[in-house]
């Protein structure tokens, strides 16, 4: 069952599965130019983390205002006046905080920025101001108001147990929504038509393919593998040099020589050069074949074609 599932994936996804252990959920975002960009959907844990960071920043800002008020001579005020002012400022501040940053920083709050998350329009268009306001006002209904209601009901000497249960049930129901859809959307995202994605930074690594090579492979030898094996080899060659990598290089070089029937054993110190040469030749072959419409996803696809 699991084997069948991984077979149906694209080679790139299988490589990710092999090296990272997990594969992120992705979704195609079609730009107005008509190119589908694959985006990684943010995981629920990351979103909770970003949100908690934002709550922390917001609480610190509120506390700072409170202290500033005290210093500015508000200490003479009655207790409930001060509480009221602080509560109101907190309410104003948290809504301004989320809406301002998601607009000014193009879909990121400080917490999301730290966690590498971003809000985008699900349909691939502009992130509209209306959508940002909608998804953040909904958070008020989703979380903050029920929490406040829960706190105030609890403070009122527990008369209405049912009211407490109802608000608690509401919070649980709302918290369940991200688990019930494949894009991890919360209620605010559903209403606003937004999606939260993870933005990993990928640098452009140096080209692995070589211009000249000491090893020459025959077309028959190169037909032994497909795109999946090529990309695994690429990942392997891009790993930093260490004792471990050297050992892996030796193993893989031995495996490849055996499979393609390489006549002489590859010298001890030449494993990496051999692998790079094979990578270059294999990539040249596979890319050429792909251009002629003959895609080869992996070695099994390669074998089927050669036996036919």
């Amino acid at each position: 069952m699991a084997r069948e599932d991984t077979d149906r994936l694209a080679p790139a996804d299988r490589v990710a599965l092999l090296f990272d252990g997990t594969r992120r959920r992705t979704r195609a975002l079609v730009t107005p130019e008509g190119v589908a960009l694959r985006v990684d959907i943010a995981q629920r844990g990351e979103r909770v983390g970003a949100f908690l960071l934002d709550v922390l920043f917001w609480s610190l800002a509120t506390a700072a205002i409170f202290v500033a008020l005290l210093i500015a001579g508000a200490g003479g005020m009655e207790g409930d006046v001060l509480t009221t002012i602080v509560l109101f400022l907190a309410f104003l501040l948290r809504n301004l905080y989320f809406i301002h940053f998601e607009l000014a920083w193009r879909g990121r709050t400080p917490g999301k920025r730290i966690c590498g998350l971003r809000v985008v329009d699900r349909a691939g268009g502009h992130l509209a101001a209306g959508a940002v306001v909608a998804r953040n006002l909904t958070r008020e209904v989703e979380l903050f108001l029920p929490l406040e209601a829960l706190a105030s009901v609890a403070a009122a000497n527990g008369v209405a147990v049912w009211a407490q249960l109802a608000t608690f049930g509401w919070i649980v129901a709302i918290a369940a929504i991200p688990f019930l859809n494949r894009d991890h959307l919360r209620a605010g995202d559903l209403i606003a038509g937004t999606l939260v994605i993870a933005m990993p930074r990928r640098a452009l690594a140096p080209e692995l393919a070589e211009d000249t090579t000491d090893y020459v492979f025959t077309p028959a030898q190169l037909r032994a593998y497909g795109a999946f094996e090529l990309q695994v080899l690429e990942e392997l060659l891009r790993q930093g040099r260490s004792q471990d990598t050297r050992r892996l290089h030796a193993e893989v070089a031995a495996k490849i020589s055996q499979r393609i029937g390489w006549p002489v054993p590859v010298p001890e110190l030449d494993h990496e050069r051999f692998l790079r040469a094979f990578y270059t030749a294999e990539r040249a072959e596979l890319e050429r074949e792909q251009l002629y419409g003959r895609r080869r996803d992996d070695k099994d696809a390669a074998r089927q074609r050669s036996t036919r």
Binding site: A12, V15, E78, A129, A156, L208, R283, R288
Partner: protein, 353 residues
């Protein structure tokens, strides 16, 4: 820069000199990608005003170049790192080029000027249902308590009644409620106004948010809100204070009830989308209607802020029924004018706000 630059015209046999089309393609384009990456890094660090003007002008061209590079690379290259880098670069550029155009301030201004009134007009039938539910509640509450005053304590929770009830005499109601003394600026405008605002905002946002559950809780909440009002009306009518009570309630009630009804209307718009998805599918309908509905919810909260100021701060200051009715009439006509404003323009730009 054309896309055809990277597409080979002939295939070369494997030989000691290797010329990979994908490697050649990368060499040609790499400089443009690096340029784009530098501009993006600048924008991500310092905002859209970070890079120089000529860099900003080149940004859309470089973005399209990156997207077209990605398309080409997908067909000719098997370099995993290159493909992932280009996807990442295109996405980052896409998010800058198609980022939000308005700041929070501009968004708020256009919401007040166009978005909110347009949303109210668009949802007029849903709002009418919310009005009817509230009216039903008022009538039922009035009838129930008039017939049997025991209903009052069943309908109105003790923290809302604040000691008032069927046993209150006309003099008590007059002195401690309708014409109670003003408690001073801070206590009225800050503490009382704010507690009213928070209480009402919770009701309004619940009425709005519960629209998700097919609108049933929204309607129940609206009816219940009407019931308590009807119950109060009944005990005042019993003491012959109907007109004074109406003046006392309408000075802020016009704004407050309108806000709660609008929030309820917003909830019903969402319920409509959930129940009757129409031809676009449930999720797409929810997105289209949901944004309109949130405008109603958000606008209602703003109105409740005004209502809180009137009720907490001004009501007891205007200690006569005629004055209260006058203010109620003025606020009602102001709201009506506001909601009917910008109708011609609103029809065109409502979606963009």
């Amino acid at each position: 820069m054309t896309a055809s630059a990277g597409i080979p015209t002939d295939a070369q046999p494997a030989s000691p000199r290797l010329a990979l089309r994908s490697a050649e393609f990368r060499r040609e384009r790499e400089a443009a990608w690096a340029q784009l990456e530098a501009i993006l890094a600048e924008i991500e660090k310092r905002g859209i005003k970070g890079p120089a003007a000529e860099d900003l002008q080149r940004l859309p061209i470089l973005y399209r170049g990156a997207v077209s590079s990605l398309s080409v690379a997908r067909t000719i290259a098997l370099d995993r790192n290159l493909l992932r880098y280009l996807e990442d670069l295109s996405l980052r550029a896409f998010l800058v080029v198609y980022g939000p155009r308005a700041s929070a301030g501009e968004g708020f201004a256009s919401f007040l000027a166009r978005g909110f009134p347009a949303a109210v007009r668009a949802a007029r039938w849903h709002i009418l249902i919310a009005v009817l539910a509230t009216a039903l509640g008022i009538a039922a509450g009035d009838m129930l308590v008039s017939a049997d005053t025991d209903w009052f304590s069943a309908l109105v929770p003790s923290d809302l009644s604040g000691g008032r009830g069927p046993a209150s005499t006309a003099a008590e109601l007059r002195q401690s409620e309708i014409f109670a003394p003003w408690e001073g600026f801070v206590a009225s405008f800050v503490v009382f106004a704010n507690s009213l605002f928070r209480h009402n905002a919770i009701i309004a946002l619940m009425a709005f948010g519960l629209g998700f559950l097919a609108g049933v809780p929204t309607l129940l909440l609206l009816v219940y809100n009407g019931l308590t009002l009807g119950a109060f009306l009944a005990i005042h009518a019993k003491r012959g204070l109907t007109i004074d009570f109406l003046g006392w309630i309408s000075i802020h009630g016009v704004t407050e009830l309108a806000a709660i009804v609008l929030a309820g209307g917003g909830g019903l718009v969402i319920a409509d989308a959930v129940l009757f998805p129409r031809r676009h599918g449930r999720l797409a309908t929810l997105v289209r209607k949901g944004r309109e509905a949130t405008k109603l919810g958000g606008g209602a909260v703003l109105m409740l802020f005004v209502a809180g100021l009137i009720e907490g701060g001004m009501r007891q200051l205007v200690a006569n029924t005629d004055g209260r009715f006058a203010i109620a009439a003025v606020t009602a006509s102001l709201w009506l004018t506001y909601f009917l404003s910008g109708r011609r323009r609103g029809a065109r730009v409502a979606d963009g706000a």
